[in-house]
């Protein structure tokens, strides 16, 4: 089988995307544009089986995400089983659909950690970006999370519309007593790819933001861990995406399809196995999809003979596919890729236009089922 010469890996990280339903509509959402097609959600029994099988194979970290996982009424039951099995359970939520009773019930069921996302540090922009009045409620929930002694991660996805407010954002996280802050730069797949012209920050914005992030990292180092990553479009080496394909990450989408990374559904020519038909053991070890880009045998030049391939695994397969049309190419973030120049030219084109009136007034495409149907219809017609 393709390139499984590396030592037998274990799915240490299980990401359970319970649903793509979500009361928010963030235009940078990393869910697939085709969310409207996922109306066949796994039932409770299926999820319980997945949790048991993955744990047996060594999975330790479990993330309940979505969409908005709070939409699922069986969440408490799933958390309870996860605790019984010995997972460290992370709830990744917008906070919408949460209340004090539920936070308490989660604690009793054995939830370990809650991550709440904010869209911005002020009510107006937060509610605009999320397409929902949610700002005050999120703040209230962050306080409740701390009251119940959970470790709390606050996650803010940064892009051109909010990155200039990084200082206010950090002040807010300090005020809310976050243990960890993730200033996550938008990754351009899913909805953010659709909205890239409106979301990609400029080089100047990033340079300013980095200074502030460093200042707070230093100032808060005893109390709060701040993780700040610049968007990889601005780098010269790709990130070690997922720590390698099929190396430690296992994502289960709401319909039960198993993916080596949550953006992989877009890759052509791969049939992702479904947990309704196969065991996690089979999916992880024997399925074509999980073996396809494992190891190094699948690589082309320049990666194939590159001394750095064990460090970054050639970057992100999805990005290689999206930007070059071939998933076995080097991630064009890498300056050894023949497509790198085009990527940076695109970044500069967007940077040059940003700030101009007609460019900025172009409306964002919000992530909702109506837009999903429209966009996936278009893609189907174009294909």
């Amino acid at each position: 089988m393709a390139g499984s010469d590396t030592k037998r890996s274990q799915p240490l990280w299980l990401l359970a995307e319970l649903t793509y339903r979500c009361p928010l509509q963030c235009p940078y959402c990393s869910n697939p544009v085709e969310i409207a097609k996922y109306n066949n959600e796994l039932g409770t029994e299926d999820w319980l089986r997945v949790l048991q099988q993955a744990r047996k194979m060594g999975a330790t970290q479990l993330g309940f995400s979505g969409g908005e996982p709070l939409v699922r009424r069986d969440l408490e039951e799933l958390i309870g089983e996860a605790r019984r099995l010995g997972y460290y359970t992370n709830l990744i939520t917008s906070g919408v659909g949460m209340d004090r009773d539920r936070v308490k019930a989660f604690k009793e069921a054995g939830l370990d950690h809650i991550q709440i996302s904010f869209q911005a540090s002020n009510e107006e922009l937060n509610n605009f970006l999320g397409g929902t009045k949610s700002f005050r409620h999120k703040q209230e929930m962050a306080r409740v999370v701390k009251e119940f002694e959970y470790p709390m991660v606050l996650n803010i996805v940064l892009h051109r519309k909010n990155v200039d407010q990084i200082r206010d954002i950090l002040d807010m996280t300090v005020e809310l007593n976050a243990d960890y802050v993730e200033l996550a730069s938008t990754q351009y797949y899913g909805w953010s790819r659709v909205n890239i012209d409106q979301l990609l920050p400029t080089r100047e914005q990033l340079a300013r933001a980095e200074v502030v992030a460093k200042e707070y990292q230093e100032k808060m180092k005893e109390k709060m861990k701040i993780i700040y990553v610049i968007p990889d479009y601005f780098e010269n080496r790709p990130k070690a995406c997922m720590n390698g394909w099929g190396a430690i990450f296992l994502t289960i989408a709401p319909d039960g399809s198993a993916l080596p990374c949550h953006a992989a559904a877009q890759l052509p020519g791969l049939e992702f196995p479904n947990v309704k038909d196969h065991s996690i053991d089979h999916i992880w070890n024997d399925s074509d999809a999980f073996n396809k880009y494992r190891g190094f045998d699948w690589m082309q030049e320049p990666c194939r003979s590159c001394p750095e391939k064990e460090k970054d695994f050639g970057g992100c397969r999805c990005q290689a596919y999206m930007l070059t049309g071939d998933a076995t190419n080097a991630d064009p973030v890498c300056d050894k890729s023949p497509h790198h120049g085009k990527l940076h030219a695109d970044v500069d084109r967007i940077g040059g236009l940003s700030g101009t009136k007609e460019f900025e007034s172009k409306p964002l495409v919000f992530r909702n089922m109506r837009n999903s149907k429209e966009l996936s219809g278009e893609t189907a017609a174009a294909a």
Partner: protein, 87 residues
């Protein structure tokens, strides 16, 4: 020192069969502990102070000089936020 260490509520300590070692778990992360670190952490349960933990380790591993190692480890564990002291 008579203070009693306990695992901080924002961390979890447990045996991981698949890794064959004790681990510390926290949001989206895991630290694998060495054999001796695991033996110390196992005894951090909110009811024994540092001296008692050392005494217990000495009876489990007779003849090993471990006072300083244990104290250093516990200092590090506190700096990492894994444990806190009840006073």
């Amino acid at each position: 020192m008579n203070d009693i260490p306990e695992i901080a509520p924002t961390f979890r300590f447990q045996w991981e069969e698949a890794q064959d070692c004790y681990v510390i778990l926290y949001p989206e992360g895991m630290v694998k502990l060495s054999g001796s670190a695991g033996e110390i952490m196992k005894r951090v349960n909110g009811s024994h102070n540092t001296d008692e933990i050392i005494a217990d380790l000495k009876s489990a591993f007779p003849g090993v000089e471990l006072d300083n190692d244990v104290r250093n480890f516990l200092d590090n564990a506190r700096d990492n936020g894994w444990i806190r002291y009840k006073t």
